[in-house]
């Protein structure tokens, strides 16, 4: 009985650490255009609690973000909201115009979903490149390459938004 009690307390203590990420998940869902970011975050945490023993012991953040992304996609399917044509078969929810900077939002929307996701995971969600790589499901090296290119493309898109010709010169150096 005491042993069971101690186990329960230990699980609650570990979950309390995981639960610290609640605000990050709310922000993630809100920035990706969820209609109910708090509901998504609560569901992520409920799943995390249920599956606590199988959560990565070293760092649960990538797992939480992947779960949130899956729930976002499910929400989008449920509500029948259509993504732009080139994004319908991706696993990356597009951000909506919630950034407060229309030029930034417009530039983000010009990027490929994978590039946009890489950029936002690092810039808005405060994930390290290694954590974001786990969310994206690719190696850290591949993620760094993707992030580098995404930054270049974003700079170009933002420059275009502002009519800044310097931006296009920077991107001209890319091979892809």
């Amino acid at each position: 009985m005491t042993h069971t009690h101690t186990q329960a307390e230990s699980a609650e203590a570990r979950f309390a650490e995981v639960f610290q990420n609640l605000g990050s998940i709310v922000r993630y869902a809100a920035a990706r255009g969820s209609r109910d970011p708090e509901g998504i975050a609560a569901e992520v945490m409920t799943i995390a609690w249920r599956r606590l023993p199988s959560l990565p012991a070293d760092d649960p953040r990538p797992w939480l973000f992947v779960t949130a992304r899956n729930l976002l996609m499910a929400e989008r399917r449920r509500t029948g909201r259509q993504a732009p044509l080139d994004e319908r078969h991706t696993e990356t929810p597009a951000p909506e115009a919630h950034s407060g900077d229309p030029a930034v939002t417009a530039a983000l929307m010009q990027l490929r979903p994978a590039d946009r996701d890489a950029l936002l995971l690092v810039s808005w969600d405060d994930l390290t490149a290694a954590q974001a790589a786990r969310v994206a499901g690719i190696s850290p090296v591949a993620f760094r390459v993707r992030l580098y290119r995404a930054r270049r493309r974003f700079e170009q898109a933002l420059s275009t938004q502002q009519g800044d010709v310097n931006g296009s010169r920077t991107v001209g150096m890319e091979s892809t």
Binding site: F15, A42, M45, R51, S99, S123, L158
Partner: protein, 228 residues
Amino acid sequence: MSRSMDRLERARPDVTAAIDRDALFARIVATPQDREQPQISGSGRRRLLIGCIAVAVLCLTAGTAFAVTGFNLFGWHTDTTIVKSPREWQRLYHDATRRLTLPPGEHWPDPTLPPDTVTSRSQPGGTAVAISQIAWECYWVHAIRHGDAAAGRQAHAALDNLLAHRVLVAPPGSPEDVAPPVGTRPPFAIFASDGGVQFVRKMYRDAADGHPATLIQSCRANGPIGTR
């Protein structure tokens, strides 16, 4: 960092989570966790796959049987009883109130079946159980606020009794119109198998241990105006 990246970071949406974190945490940890799955070897996985297929076939045939008979293995079944009139609804409700208790000084409200409504015969009893439960919860909150330990113990006992004898948990995956095995004596309230009852039990345990925040919240959310 380039100016573009700096601008991107500054454009991060400013979102403030309007969540009662403590209540959410308490609600989540009151729900059951999945059992840890043991690692399965390759051959074990194949055997498991074959077993799963067999179970799926069994479920399909059993599901057909369930659809035909309306009963499953545990005696829980689809509720096909219908209340025919508001008068019948009120009779069933009043029958239920005679088998339940309210805190001292409380009186049963006099609800009725709204017009153009179809419901099952167990629903009036479920309503009475819910009214009793909420009344005792608010009585307990009142007792805590006024330092009346005896009244608190009385409310706790009444609520434990209600959970033990008047609250049933439907088998996992049951539809909303499920009914308990024939012979279950009304009144009763049916809870889904989603951890809700465990949450309520924990709420009462916590309140008895001097942590009534969730109980107070439950009364505030569900209790009649004036008792909150």
